[in-house]
Amino acid sequence: MFESTLQFILAGLTSGAIYALVGLGFTIIYNASHVINFAQGEFIVIGGMSTVALTAAGLPLPLAIVLATVVTMVVGMALARFAIQPAKDADVVALIIITIGASIFLRGIVQLVFGKDIHSLPPFSGETPLNLMGATLMPQSLWVMGISAGLILVMAWFFNATLAGKAMLATAYNSLAARLMGVDTKWVLLSAFALSAFLGAVGGIVVTPITFVSYESGIMLGLKGFSAAVLGGLGNGIGAVAGGLILGVVEAMSAGYISSAYKDAIAFVIILVVLVARPNGLFGKKGIDRV
């Protein structure tokens, strides 16, 4: 009994850490621009696919990882520069359509460049499962969780302790005021997309050995990441991570104890219940209408 529960939790944390990484990517861009980037899932795909392609071309894995990350960041910045920046004053819904358009566009490019096959990468530390009080875990899951945790810490440090991070937060809070204070808000947008793409690429690389990657992986991951970010409260990094982990564990527990057919539905029911009780997510700040 205890073993299965632990196994469900570990399964949930594995998926949850993946969702958390994607959710964190949503959060960074949201914080810098109040844009929900529905192309976030594509960053993961581009990161994973490029790594696969580069290693297949004979590059050593570490070099492939670095190059793939750079490629993804360039794509992210191009997206910011050519699709988001020119539409800065557009309505929220228009921006949603732009990022959805971007995700379709990028999916098309990925399909054209890398093909439609499903790919995998070798796990970083082999495939011998770790035994934990009767439950098992793949070493790669630890990589995902560890790298997620590490990235969260780096992000927290970046936003709280560096000038660039603070400038980003200031821009999100009040773009005009930030500009008047000498913050280059265009730069902020570009860096936010670059950062978010970086997270996506790293995420894509560490999760590929577990979930595989194909040109279509981004849809599901984007959806789950968005769910995680909203569940936790938009704009809150810790919230996105908590949201992702909760989502993963709820899914695994539902599959284990209630019904595997309805596990995704149950996860969404939980999200709805949370939102009705807390309209700004678990960790979101309550907004007040200023009149």
């Binding site: 699709a83 020119p86 929220v92 949603i96 359509i97 358009g101 909203v230 995704d264 539905a265 939102l275």
Partner: protein, 314 residues
């Protein structure tokens, strides 16, 4: 009559287009595409009342479309209902469901509302996918032919005129609604919610009302779709389909009834036109979506109408 023409210019233009389009139609496939475009347009006209006029997003409207379709399919085949009765039951059922979910979730704003509506859509789609003994599961099911007063709609041509008529009726109803006190209340709560509340508008009531109305529009179109399409499957009520509806509304023009129709037609025709270069289809589709929203954030019809008005002015 002149006042009617003034108020319903868009409606008259649309009627003219519907009447003239068959001149360019060469075969049933063309009718099929136009019928689907018309059905999408009915959904989008309703959805635009919610998104464009009342300013509330829904990423789950395909679920209402799908529920209408399944209601018609299940009630006419499994239970042998008359197609009109099934359609009415679907609309009523969807209306009640929309009312029940709308009250709690419409307190949410922006992306949170988007998430909640998306969630409801996904939940409904999972239920229909899983309860295979009722719905046929992923393989779906078919509805009986659509018949009104003994006339069964079989040919694509008869379907074209049916859907064209329904679309015109939908546009007429939507235009009337927008130009009524209810429509003003909706636009007001979009423009300045606190301002609207303070002058006496029960904003929650109107948000719920329009959510229900737009869901009923979707259910209506879904019922027609079920009778026209060979099989109703869960793919018609997935998240992607919901997004397609929103894209049509925003692309054609928010807060523009005519825009909804134009958006639905273009976004339905486009994939068919691009089908012959399918490898590039997503790239072109994505580029068009981004480009339109970047250069015409208000959508196609309002932007073009504004340009033309400026040109006409001396």
């Amino acid at each position: 009559m002149k006042a009617f023409a003034q108020r319903h210019r868009g409606l008259l233009i649309l009627a003219a287009c519907i009447a003239l389009l068959p001149l360019g139609v060469q075969n049933d496939y063309h009718y099929d595409v136009l019928i689907n475009a018309g059905l999408n347009a009915i959904v989008v006209v309703g959805l635009n009342l919610l998104i464009g006029y009342a300013g509330q997003i829904s990423l789950g409207h395909a679920a209402f479309f799908g529920l209408g379709a399944y209601a018609s399919a299940i009630l006419t085949t499994t239970y042998g209902w008359h197609s009109l009765a099934a359609m009415g039951a679907g609309m009523a059922g969807v209306g009640v469901l929309a009312y029940v979910v709308a009250r709690p979730i419409l307190r949410l704003k922006g992306h949170y509302l988007a998430m909640a509506t998306l969630g409801i859509g996904v939940i409904i789609s999972i239920v229909l996918n899983t309860e295979a003994q009722v719905t046929g599961g992923p393989d779906g099911m078919s509805a009986e032919p659509f018949s009104v007063f003994g006339f069964a709609f079989q040919s694509e041509k008869s379907w074209y005129w049916l859907v064209g008529g329904c679309l015109l009726a939908s546009v007429w109803l939507a235009t009337n609604l927008i130009n009524s006190p209810i429509g003003r209340a909706l636009r007001a709560l979009h423009g300045a919610e606190v301002g609207a509340r303070v002058v006496g508008i029960d904003t929650t009531h109107y948000k719920v009302l329009i959510f229900v109305i737009s869901a009923v529009f979707a259910s209506f179109a879904g019922s027609l779709f079920a009778h026209h399409t060979p099989t109703v499957t869960p793919s018609i009520l997935g998240f992607i389909k919901s997004v397609e509806f929103v894209v049509m509304a925003v692309f054609g023009g928010m807060a523009s009834v005519l825009g909804s129709v134009v958006g639905a037609f273009i976004m339905t025709l486009l994939p068919n036109v691009l089908a012959s270069i399918e490898d590039f289809e997503p790239i072109i589709l994505g580029a068009i979506m981004m480009g339109t929203m970047i250069f015409m954030p208000k959508g196609l019809v309002p932007t073009i109408a504004k340009k033309l008005r400026r040109k006409e002015a001396p």
